[in-house]
């Protein structure tokens, strides 16, 4: 019993990381049919935002709130990656709708640039850039467009951007002067230290439950619930679902598909940011951190099928549990007297690297029965 419980918890822990990482990817894929290869790099940006937030919270005026920086960084990471995602969508992906393979390549290019960007640009200036874009976008939304004449609107637009650039520069300057670590470019991995209440674990039924893992599970659950609520209950969620089901018909009914695209991509990217926070609590933060998780996300998406959150959830947890069962060699403990040939096979795969091989083989085998994943989309399209 204890064994099963421990195994279940470990699987849940691994699975929740996979789920939070794959959630955004799956939503974007479901709506736009686009796989964002830069998703891992958005996670990386989220992880770096956690790092920057942590450093800001070490400054004197905020020091007393240091223990709660993780919660703030969730918001920061969401906003930062959502902004980057929106810029990405508006500048590149918009041009490539209907050409998913090209999108794949373009986003790979973006991922290379983002990786090199964090290596060669000091974090303070990167944060300043994000600030500029964020403030500029906010002005873009709040500026009253109808009441102004053409020339007035132009002036307002230009001055708002000038203003945001100034603010961005100011914030970059402030960051680099008050936190010297952020003022230099570095390819070095950095470290996010969890606040003291998140370290350690507590024992229950002879099992140690690490607090970090539990926090991540909770974050994942909240994220999944809010996304579900948003999609099912809110107006824009309804519009997103409508566009997912039939783009041209929704457009005919007056839904601005462009806004829906921006919104979806922004949310998908923002979720990558939240995944970045989770990941930063587990390991180090570096330019390659996203690449470590992206293939796991792909496996989840392939197994879970398109456009169904439940599929994504079940897929993540089953992959998580399988990783634990196979990789930690638990099968042998659960079933000690399995026949010898089977036991040697299980033993052969009982390392983390070989577990991946086996899981992939199982997924390919599974696809032979259910080619479109766990929950295939139903519809009348020719292409199933």
């Amino acid at each position: 019993m204890q064994l099963i419980l421990e195994s279940l918890f470990n699987g849940l822990a691994i699975g929740s990381v996979l789920l939070i990482a794959a959630l955004g990817l799956a939503i974007v894929f479901g709506l736009m049919g686009v796989i964002n290869l830069a998703h891992g790099e958005l996670m990386m940006l989220g992880a770096y935002s956690t790092y920057v937030t942590q450093l800001i919270f070490k400054l004197t005026p905020l020091k007393q709130f240091y223990n709660s920086y993780v919660i703030v960084s969730l918001v920061v990471a969401f906003v930062v990656t959502a902004v980057v995602g929106i810029v990405l969508e508006r500048s590149i992906i918009k041009r490539l709708y209907g050409r998913p393979l090209e999108t794949l390549l373009a986003t790979w290019g973006v991922s290379l640039i983002l990786q090199q960007f964090v290596r060669s640009v000091p974090l303070a200036y990167a944060s300043g850039l994000i600030c500029t874009i964020l403030i500029g976008l906010i002005f873009h939304i709040i500026l009253p467009k109808n009441s102004l004449t053409y020339s007035q609107a132009r002036i307002a637009k230009v001055s708002s951007w000038v203003f945001s650039i100034l603010l961005g520069l100011l914030s970059a300057n402030w960051l680099s002067s008050s936190i010297s670590k952020l003022g230099r470019a570095s390819a070095r991995n950095v470290d996010v230290t969890a606040p003291s209440w998140m370290r350690g674990g507590f024992d229950l039924w002879n099992i140690t439950f690490p607090v970090t893992r539990i926090v991540i599970i909770v974050i994942t659950i909240i994220a999944v619930f809010s996304v579900t609520w948003f999609l099912k209950q809110s107006v824009w969620g309804m519009r997103i679902r409508a566009v997912t089901q039939n783009r041209s018909m929704s457009e005919c009914l007056g839904i601005s598909t462009e806004t829906v695209d921006v919104l979806t991509f922004g949310i998908g990217s923002g979720l990558a940011g939240i995944a970045g926070v989770a990941v930063s609590l587990l390991g180090s933060v570096g330019p390659n951190v996203g690449g470590n998780y992206i293939v796991g996300c792909f496996m989840v998406v392939v197994l879970g099928g398109v456009g169904n959150l439940l599929g994504t959830i079940i897929a993540s947890f089953s992959i998580g549990i399988m990783t634990d069962l196979i990789g930690a060699g638990r099968l042998l403990t659960i079933w000690p007297d399995m026949p010898a040939p089977l036991a040697t096979t299980v033993d052969f795969f009982a390392t983390t690297s070989m577990a991946r091989v086996l899981i992939f083989a199982l997924i390919v085998a599974f696809l032979q029965f259910r080619p479109s994943g766990l929950f295939p989309q139903k519809g009348r399209m020719v292409e199933g």
Binding site: N189, D191, T193, G201, D203, T212, R213, S284, T351, T352
Partner: protein
Amino acid sequence: MSITKRLFVGLSTIALGASITACGGSDQSTSCVDCDDQVTVGILHSLSGTMAISESTLVDTEKMAIEEINAAGGVEVGGKKYEIKYIVEDGASDWPTFAEKSKKLIDQDKVPVVFGGWTSASRKAMLPVYESKDAFLYYPIQYEAQECSNNIFYTGATPNQQSEPATEFMFKRSPAAGKPFFLVGSDYVFPRTSNTITIEQVKSLGGEVVGEDYLPLGNTEVAPIIAKIKKALPNGGVIINTLNGDQNVAFFKQIQDVGITPDNGYYVMSYSIAEEEISTIGPEFLAGHYGAWNYMMSINTPASKKFARNFKKRWGSDRVVADPQESAYNMVYLWKAAVEKAGTFDDNEVRKALIGVKFDAPQGPVEVMPNHHLSQTVRIGQITSGGQFKILESTNGPVLPQAWNQFEPSSKGYACDWTDSKKGERYPL
């Protein structure tokens, strides 16, 4: 096919041919050996990719050593002073690229010596290049040995200069003495070979290795490994850690969470964690665990302090020095000493002259042995909460290097000696 198409084919072929010829022509003479009073050496480490973080520190140290030598007048050969210039090439954390860039440095730049490499895989990739072209590589990292090339000079520790004393310490004198061992490593050659040796050694000491596991490079999901450790070592024990780079961060953060800590009787001995890594991982996760090196920043000698001070002065006050950097520093000086002893830059002469060269390194005296390795002092340290090692033990003077391991059955009873043409790479003792 239309005429234009054909025309295009023709034109592009000609253009290709022309560009190749042009490149071939223009790529000559980017460097000059012995032109006047300069000598150009090659530096080959990863400046991009996953290994860039570690390897760039070596480039910094090698540059510093070269600058120091130049400031002191350069290399003196045949009564003439030569200034050292260097060409830095990027291995891009990709083993085949290391081989490619080695070929470039040897064939095109015609450098007399290359300082380079970090991972064993990169060295193994470069080795055939240097052997087939009979060139000379200096390799600065502690490694698994079981290799003794006439064309490589190894300034890092062999297992008997790092892992063996460390294993013995853990088994006999550490707080976890006599307890079972668990071996964790990244999935590549150094951890695998090093662990094979450790298993044999623990067996001969009368101890028990209860498990080993390897994490694929680039994977940071350590939960299954931690589960295995908890199962295999329910009452504490020794964990020998040969994980690489950022995998260490995930590992140490998460073992602390599940209670695998010195307080609960679990002691981790790491072979790849030096001062640089301690500051990245965070001392609060590492305090109380162990490390074994030839050089530690906390060595309290004038040479050691000067090395650390100069490095900070040159590259910034928040930088640290560690064992790999010290090896890299030594090898530049050892090369200089050998060239001066040989009186020429010629590979073969320098190689002969190198054996027996002594140098007062930051770690203490080192000497080049006939098997192309260094005799070095071994130190065992415990990581303090200040991010440094508290040196618990150090060997009485330098330890002789063994290129062929004496615990591993396949190499037991063999040794390497390049000064005797009858002995060579591998001969029975």
